[in-house]
């Protein structure tokens, strides 16, 4: 007992300390390095020259406003679509649920730029709608801030959906069952269910906000001026690392404000209900047909429409087959899977540490995660090169750098998602385990992880999809030769006809969806297992 007691504390310290150290090395250090570079001017002098132009001009303020509106709009739309779907999946039983879930997740697999292209093929001046109706109906709206909001909102709603479903499965259905005795379903949903999942929904909304404000491809394509353009120009047109990083500060500040606002509104409200998830209350009982119709409508509009528009533009299956590269596909699937697994492991530890932190610094930890996540991918990529490209280290120049790029970019978002999941697990579970003599590690593996397994699955899927589609950082650090599918796609897009572009896009989407479809077919329904976890 004494021997076991000696290692009880150090196991937690070692595990969490290692996760924090890796987070600092992989995620924080590249950003901090680049921030240091931002204080060096193009003439080599240290100073604030790169910051002189920020926030001052009307143009910069307009760009900030556009960026904030784009982020807020996309986040709101994604939540409005995704959150109800997540509740639907968690609280009703209808046929082909697994298959329909895959269909609903599909837009997240489509890279935002490709999604923008697809919507142009539909709503552009000579797109499908213009051809059907004989004149241009939608192009003015397509090429606008509203069009960009819809494109990104539709692309990112699966994040809200997966997060909400994972959170709702943690809510004890007996609360809702009791409420249904005295209140109608709508009231129960609004006054019981939704407040209990709100923090996770807010975390997902924040993730979508950050993804939207740091997105460049869609605003560029749809001719919307946003602040990411300034960062991009500083790199692409001016080759000035310091100025580019300084340009990213307003973006990081916007993310910080959004994160602080989310903390203020949601706070540290207790989410947990009872010891086990239990079965969900049948809030949508008797509505199976409507549920299926709604789901099919969303799939048709948000997933099938853009994919079919791309396929129509591709024209022939031969083009799609020719666009594929076995090596690139294998690399992408393997590296994304390794990256997602490592990200999830570290994210679970960091999320646990954040959720169980008792100091006031826990809110600060959230904000640090958000700011790091908001850092433009090129800033991260250049920072990684600066840190890892050292003579004799042997890591730079290999495929490991691609995985490191994934970790650097996506550990923060997964840690945020899993922190929200861990907060749903009562600490009394661990306290009871400790009283029974279980060490921290045993308690973490045998009690905490099983309680958040749906959240872990959702986090893994999100990490996989984000890693699979990542380009900005990986193109800077990927080794020579056939690397990942997005790199192949974008290097070939450069001078290809739109049919080839569409074929490459369809290939990337199909390859990205395939492992998720396999996982979806394997995974069983959670309700009985969740009940047995109690």
């Amino acid at each position: 007992m004494k021997w076991r007691g000696m290692f009880r504390a150090p196991a937690r310290t070692v595990a969490l300390g290692s996760a924090v150290a890796l987070f600092a090395l992989l995620c924080a250090l590249p950003i901090v390095w680049m921030l240091g570079v931002s204080f060096v001017g193009s003439d080599g002098r240290v100073g604030l020259g790169n910051y002189a132009r920020l926030f001052v001009g009307p143009r910069e303020r307009q760009l900030m406003l556009n960026s904030a509106l784009l982020g807020a709009g996309a986040s709101l739309l994604a939540t409005l679509i995704g959150a109800p779907l997540g509740l639907l999946f968690a609280r009703s039983d209808f046929p082909l649920k697994r298959l329909l879930r895959i269909g609903l997740v599909a837009p997240l697999v489509i890279p935002p730029y490709i999604l923008g292209l697809a919507w142009i093929y539909i709503g552009g001046p000579v797109g499908l709608m213009a051809q059907l109706f004989g004149h241009d109906l939608l192009s003015e709206w397509t090429y606008s801030l509203g069009g960009a909001v819809v494109t990104l909102g539709v692309g990112f709603y699966p994040l809200a959906m997966l997060a909400t479903e994972a959170a709702a499965r943690r809510v004890d259905g007996r609360l809702e069952e009791a409420a249904l005795l005295v209140a109608p379903r709508r009231r129960v949903l609004w006054r019981i269910t939704f407040p209990l999942v709100a923090p996770v929904v807010a975390a997902a909304a924040l993730v979508v906000f950050v993804l939207a404000i740091s997105e460049f491809g869609v605003p560029g394509l749809l001719r919307v001026n946003v602040f990411t353009t300034e960062v991009f120009i500083a790199f692409s047109a001016l080759y000035d690392f310091g100025a580019a990083t300084a340009m990213a500060i307003p973006l990081l500040a916007t993310a910080l404000i959004a994160g602080a606002a989310a903390q203020y509104v949601i706070g540290e409200r207790l989410l947990v209900t009872r010891r086990g998830a239990g079965a969900g209350a049948p809030l949508f009982a008797g509505r199976k047909t409507i549920a299926v119709v709604v789901v099919l409508f969303v799939i048709a509009l948000c997933a099938l429409a853009p994919i079919l528009a791309l396929a129509r533009e591709a024209g022939h299956i031969r083009r799609v087959a020719a666009a594929a590269s076995g090596t690139a596909i294998k690399n992408s699937l393997w590296l994304s899977a390794v990256g997602a697994t490592t990200i999830t492991i570290l994210g679970a530890l960091l999320g646990y540490g954040r959720a169980r932190a008792r100091t006031r610094l826990r809110g600060l930890a959230d904000l640090v995660m958000i700011v790091i996540f908001a850092a433009p991918s090129t800033v991260v990529g250049v920072g990684l090169i600066s840190l890892w490209n050292r003579p004799g280290w042997g890591i730079y120049g290999g495929q490991a750098m691609v995985v490191i790029a994934y970790l650097a970019r996506f550990i923060p978002v997964v840690a945020l998602i899993l922190a929200a999941s861990v907060r749903q697990v009562p600490i009394s579970f661990e306290e009871a385990a400790e009283l029974s003599g279980a060490g921290w590690l045993r308690s973490f593996i045998r009690i905490v992880l099983p309680q958040i397994k749906t959240g872990i699955a959702a986090a893994w899927i999100v990490a996989f999809i984000l890693a699979f589609g990542e380009l900005g950082a990986t193109i800077l650090v990927a080794p020579p030769g056939e690397s990942t599918l997005p790199i192949r796609t974008y290097t070939l897009i450069a001078n290809a006809p739109s049919a080839e572009v569409a074929a490459l896009a369809v290939t990337q989407v199909c390859v990205g969806l395939a492992p998720l479809a396999l996982l979806g077919l394997f995974a069983g329904e959670k309700t009985k297992e969740a009940a047995s976890d109690a």
Binding site: K330, V338, Y396, L476, G481, A494, N495
Partner: protein, 351 residues
Amino acid sequence: MNSKVFTRICALLAIGLMTDFSACGGRGATGGAGPDSKTDEVTIYVSTDRVFSEPILRAYEQKTGVKVNAVYDTEETKSTGLANRLLAEKNNPQADVFWSNEPVRTLVLKSRGALAPYKSPGADGIPPAFKDPEGYWTGFSARIRVIVYNTNLVKGADAPKSIYDLADPKWKGQIAIADPRFGSTSFHVAALYAELGDEKADEFFRKLKANGVKIAPGNSVVRDLVMKGEVKMGLTDTDDVNVALEDKQPVAMALPDRDGMGAPLMPNMVSLVAGAPRAGAGKKLIDYLLSPEVERDLAKSDAVQIPLRGGVEGPKNIPPINSFKPMTLDYGRAAGRVEDVVKRLQPILDL
């Protein structure tokens, strides 16, 4: 996630681990396996479109047995690209050779000390105007900045002859250019400022703005907009237009200002990277890229790039170099104007 699912995921990962992971061992231009010896390999960063450059590098591999580790670039508006990678790697270079498809990137890298001088014997026959006097870059196989127009919508005498035609009010809302802050368009606008002077160039772009010019994310998008009839004409590169011509689309190209300032010529540029880990192999690859054989291959391919040396057969659809008036350019001076021009154009074109 139940234990069965977990086991299946582990099985999938294990299968992936055991599968011959060819990307780890093989780093060829084609991604295939090759010889392991470091003396038999060379690393090149390529900004010229992959669809055109990859066959050239594959041919070099087959001819010499040297493994070519190639890193390709995206369109300039999709990612910040290889020039930034080269600058970031300057303290511990990974690449031996840099092959660019336009002058700006190369000249920025030269100014930042990322290139090394090498005067290749393969450059014999290339006119001096396309070679750096200090040897930091050598030009070969060029593209031209042209006006692309839709032949169904623009007929006969209305066909554009000068870039000033884009400012003609009869084409209001029917013209497009790629974002002038990036790529070959940034070179083109910088060249215009160097040629016309600031006042005249500012005036030209103000007129374009008043004429409702659409700013597209890239040259290929300009081509697609014209091809689909969303606009009637635009500025782009010869290889972009050729893609549409080969696809039998209703487009044609006009070499602008034949009787005026001439059309801007953009050569490919190849350079040795400063501190290249395999400088000897890099020099040999540069010699090959500057050979008449490569100019001929690039001319025959869909790149339709114009040989700079005489006596090499040019591409179909494109007039030979001695048949039109190219803009007289100091590439260094034009590239040096890019940063300043980008800042001037932002308020003029509301970028």
